[in-house]
């Protein structure tokens, strides 16, 4: 039996989910892990207030340092994102991100499936610049501390992974529920519905981490190549791509999560995915 990219990817996603959320017993007491490993960032989007989370969220960490009193720019988190991006590009989204896996599972719920209008793809860059980069630095309180605006106003991963479980376990937290929780809950519900209808809706429309990693797809060491000598132009790679990318025209598309579905579908083996530096000539 040929081990397809689909099988390899699902296995690695499950392993990554387990490795990034290993403190399952914390769900019982509504606690969070407070050990030293939380100074290191998970490559994917995983709220550090999730009871099971063993590492920090890179977007949360970036906002926390940028908005802190001591610093206004995080070399540490930026360096990590640079490293992950250059090594893997958006393969982090496709192979390692726990929230990405959740979206794929939700999309399997039977329903009409919609295509995403291209304009929505640019919203995540606005979210990145405004909520992740500008607001934590610019919107500070009297002590000079900024809030993690993306986490506070948008992130459905935090609401789902952290909010629901912690609020269920702590009455004092439930007593503090207000309009902001209503907003975040609404965004979570819309995100979940969106993910049922559109493949990886959050990744494509709102995720600032996907926006960052997508910029590295042109340079990442783990990449997609299309051998023009083998390609027969059948279009099967484009047909199977659930991120609505044409691998032949744009193999380095910022929307490509390197899932390998195109490589699995290619009848001639023209589409390759991996770390190899041998590049075929692209038809683009």
């Amino acid at each position: 039996m040929k081990i397809t990219y689909a099988i390899k990817r699902k296995l690695l996603q499950i392993i990554a989910l387990g490795c990034s959320n290993e403190h399952l017993l914390n769900f019982k007491g509504g606690k969070i892990y407070t050990g030293k490993w939380k100074q290191f960032c998970n490559p994917g989007l995983n709220c550090y207030s999730c009871p099971a989370a063993g590492f920090a969220c890179p977007i949360g960490a970036l906002q926390a340092v940028n908005g802190s009193m001591q610093f206004s720019f995080s070399f540490y988190v930026t360096g990590l994102l640079l490293a992950f991006g250059l090594l893997l590009g958006r393969a982090v989204c496709g192979w390692l991100c726990p929230f990405g896996l959740l979206q794929e599972l939700i999309h399997k719920i039977p329903s009409p499936k919609w295509h995403l209008k291209k304009g929505f793809l640019y919203v995540k860059y606005v979210v990145l610049v405004v909520f992740v980069l500008i607001l934590p630095i610019a919107a500070t309180d009297y002590m000079g501390m900024g809030k993690p605006a993306f986490c506070q106003y948008i992130c459905p991963a935090g609401t789902l992974e952290g909010g629901l479980f912690l609020l269920a376990a702590h009455e004092n937290l439930r007593n503090a529920i207000g309009a902001l929780f209503g907003l975040k809950a609404a965004i979570l519900i819309l995100t979940l519905i969106g993910c049922v209808l559109v493949y990886r809706c959050f990744c494509r429309v709102l995720c600032p981490l996907g926006a960052i990693y997508g910029l590295f797809n042109k340079f990442s060491i783990f990449h997609l190549t299309v051998d023009s000598h083998k390609c027969v132009g059948c279009g099967k790679c484009k047909d199977v791509c659930q991120m609505e990318v044409d691998p032949v025209k744009t193999p380095d598309s910022a929307e490509c999560i390197r899932c390998g579905a195109c490589a699995d579908a290619c009848p001639t083996g023209a589409v390759c995915l991996g770390f190899s530096t041998k590049r075929g000539k692209s038809l683009a």
Binding site: Q39, Y48, A61
Partner: protein, 48 residues
């Protein structure tokens, strides 16, 4: 973009990321991340 340009871009990027990481760790940013991550993030869970 030619393959040589990409290789140089990758090398420059990786060197930059290492420099950033080392400098960021040296000035104590990991401590800020840890301090944030080990406390329940009220903003993240919707309580502001």
């Amino acid at each position: 973009m030619g393959s040589k340009t990409k290789i140089w871009a990758r090398a420059a990027g990786l060197i930059t990321s290492c420099v950033f990481l080392i400098y960021g760790l040296h000035r104590g940013e990991a401590g800020v991340v840890l301090n944030k991550a080990v406390n329940i993030c009220l903003e993240c869970i919707g309580l502001g």
